[in-house]
Symmetry: C2
Subunit: 228 residues, 2 copies
Amino acid sequence: MPEAFGIGVRERQVPLPIKISEETFTPRQQAVLTAALDLLVENGDGLTMTAVARRASCSKETLYKWFGDRDGLLTATVQWQAAKVRMPHVDRSHLSAKVLRESLQQFARDLLTTIIGEVSITLNRTAITHAAQEKDSLGNIVLENGPMAIRRRLKPILEAARDARLLRFNSSEDAYRTFFGLVVRDVQIRLLLGDNSLTQSNVEANIEADVVAATDQFLALYGAKANS
Amino acid sequence: MPEAFGIGVRERQVPLPIKISEETFTPRQQAVLTAALDLLVENGDGLTMTAVARRASCSKETLYKWFGDRDGLLTATVQWQAAKVRMPHVDRSHLSAKVLRESLQQFARDLLTTIIGEVSITLNRTAITHAAQEKDSLGNIVLENGPMAIRRRLKPILEAARDARLLRFNSSEDAYRTFFGLVVRDVQIRLLLGDNSLTQSNVEANIEADVVAATDQFLALYGAKANS
DNA sequence: ATGGAACCGTACCGTACGGTACGCCTGCGG
DNA sequence: CCGCAGGCGTACCGTACGGTACGGTTCCAT
């Protein structure tokens, strides 16, 4: 693989997954990435360079010029898509029991909604398949933009809530992981494994109930008192 | 694939085959499956028929004769290994608060220990990779021998505990899934994605604490009273 | 206009791997 | 001792796919 191209294209292979802004890729490149993602979602891992080139109406040579090799294209696709996940923003200065509960519910709702989406399932499967080959780069990207992103956003809120005497816990890490478990339960692993009895609509219909239940349970475990 | 050899073929061989679940494999076949599993664990999905044949000191022709095709070999391997997972057995007739707590802890311990094992991670990754190709057979096998097996064993105990007024819940399904979430949290998905910060020994060291914590939390949520 | 950069489409190459064919060896029943 | 079934090892085939090369086209800057 050629190691330097003086083109106005981003450098490949960043060691640590950094936040990717949308200016990182030109519109044309984003169209290619969209095609790649679509193929991933449709065809599972049947992502071939030829297929991407045909779908995006570009030449394979361009793909290799832009992304280096197949792994580079895969990485770019996952990176670009994973960075799109947006977390809810909570104002930590006005924390009340009500605001806390609603914030937690919002986190739970976003988490569940993301997890059951086709795109998320595909990206996680791709990263896991990748991780089965001693390559953890994709896995790290997904982790960084999924669970870790949630953790980064949720932990400060939990700690603020503790400072406001709304929650009680020793380790905010444990509290976060408990919240994650209460929300996700066995949904993600079953979807990743292709459980037939879990259709997306099936889960979707219960999201609200599950969100409320998980939040209630979390507050029952960590709430300073039984509250609204 | 010639249709004379169905999937999951059982060739009647010389001595008495050892019974493994419904499907029986001769010792020689089990040696082949062991080789296949070892290769899976070592090499990720780099499982090639040639590699299995070489490792097991058999000919490729024999592999195809016994297992039909690559998928058949994969299925047989997963089936054979997944069926080895054993669940704790609890005597439902002597349920007390103490026995219940210890039983739950035992379930949690077995679940965690299984999940963090190399073999489990490999099988789950393989099944998920498989599920990314519109094939859910492997996923179903893993589900059936993993989460579903636990559910089958745990739910009767939960219901017995409810009858004994040790637990309180409406849906034993929800109770089971909450237990699963409290125990597994984000450990499995992080391991599947190859999270570097989660070494096996790292998790192993905390198993006991996590088991106790998860059980305590479950009992706090579903126990009839705050009890020992 | 003209040179060149970027890029498309396609043909091409090498390899890896699933699957098959075949020759040879071994153990065993007659 | 013979024949043969089962099985090992290896050579072989076809295909799919990653990666490269190259001619032709568009577009822009000079």
